[in-house]
Amino acid sequence: MSTLQAEASTEGKKEKAARFPIIDTDVHERMVSIEDLLPYIKEPFLSYMKHWTGWGELKYTHPIGGSRLDSLLPNGNVPGSDYGVLKEQLLDKYDIDYAILTGLFYPATMEAQFELAAELASAYNEWYVRNWLEKDDRFLGSIHVAPQMPETAVREIEKWGDHPKMVQVLLPIGTAPLGDPYYHKIYEAAERKNLVIGMHQGNSVTTGFGQPRYYVEWHTILSQAFMGMAVNLILNGVFDKYPGTRVAMIEGGFTWVPSLMWRMDHNYKSLRSEVPWVKRLPSEYIKEHFRFSTQPIEDPNPQHMLRMVEMMESDELLMFSTDYPHWDFDSPTRSLPTTFSAELKRKIFYDNAKNFYRLPDSPKAAR
């Protein structure tokens, strides 16, 4: 066998199949460029697009590149923009049952021109439903909205909410306290349409002291924004007002959840009178209404990670995710700690997301 043949056979080898059905709760499909959206953008905003420079929200030049090096496309298009490659590298390689598409397009984080934001979100939905969501039975979708103008978000939720493959409304972490009553009609609409609220960090997330100097700092502490949002949603009464609201916190970590529950309960016991609409201990809302995606999973002592799940007092809060095609991708075969039992792994890989998103059993899992 020549060297080249040896190389090809090595790369083509299928990853050892996971023993569990898998729902990947964070998969980033991409446009090749903003031009993809032009057919779906109406005037006056179509004219704006002649001058589009993006909204330049990531404050850092990525020091090592934002995607898996093996997801870079030969034609130079952005990783995640080719269905065939995504199918091969993720869906087929790991035998994924469902992949929830979360995009990488965040007009929801624009700090100005909210009507344009709403138009872009709407155009993105039109584009990606046709070009991604309906292309593969395994894809499930997120409705992109502009929460800056909640009434436009409601219109988008009503437009797409009955699409059989739409499972959530995507909201950004880090730009606004979305538990504020100003945004409540979004939760009302999502509840009415039986959709999860998926919250994924936007690139404009800042930290307790603003913008840290280095990317590695930012990427480490952006969990702060997820903590803040969980507290904000609970204490502004979203779950008391709309008890059917379910929130998936995507890519924000989860090892902070126990301490946040403890601290929020501790404060609530003394300060309940300030938020009398909150009827139960805050930790109970976390357990009932929130789920957390696993990627990027930390890798401490595996025993400690198991204890962390025990401290969450529920084995139903975690949902597996890969974050394909990004640089911090978690492999289905290699990322969960060795200390997790088969029963716990099955819940994280499949059952928890299936139940939370209220999905029918996948054909494979039903076998």
Binding site: M1, T3, A6, E7, S9, T10, E11, I64, G65, R68, L69, D70, D299, W327, D328, F329, D330, S331, T333, R334, S335
Partner: protein, 118 residues
């Protein structure tokens, strides 16, 4: 110990890498700028990504605050996924954790061939 000829000694230019199959294992063969060869197991100890899909590069060396000293040109193999960095001459990760280490294989050049010993 087994040995296997994997390529001719001038097939690869300095600064190149490739995956080679050696027995039942995949190995990443690297040619340093000096012309010497190194070989590592072709799997990152973190999550198993094939290191041959990564980049052979230099990197910043330990320095004082605010100072960047670039070195180890074409001696650092960076994993294609999480970009863990490994010194190909030792197999050790560049962060200080002895558990993060890739198995090294002895490589010799014999009669115009690159030979991996395993």
């Amino acid at each position: 110990m087994n040995r296997m000829v994997v390529c001719g000694s001038e097939e690869m230019a300095p600064g190149q890498k490739r995956a080679v199959q050696v027995g039942s294992r995949s190995v990443v063969l690297v040619r340093l700028g000096s012309g010497e060869y190194c070989a590592l197991m072709n799997a990152c100890p973190h999550q198993g990504a094939p290191l041959s899909d990564g980049e052979l590069t230099g990197t910043t060396l330990p320095s004082t605050v605010g100072e960047y000293v670039y070195g180890k040109d074409d001696q650092v193999l960076r994993c294609p996924w999480h970009r863990w960095e490994f010194d190909v001459t030792s197999g050790h990760a560049l962060f200080n954790d002895r558990r993060a280490c890739v198995k090294r294989y002895e490589v010799t050049v014999e009669e115009g061939n690159v030979v991996i010993h395993y």
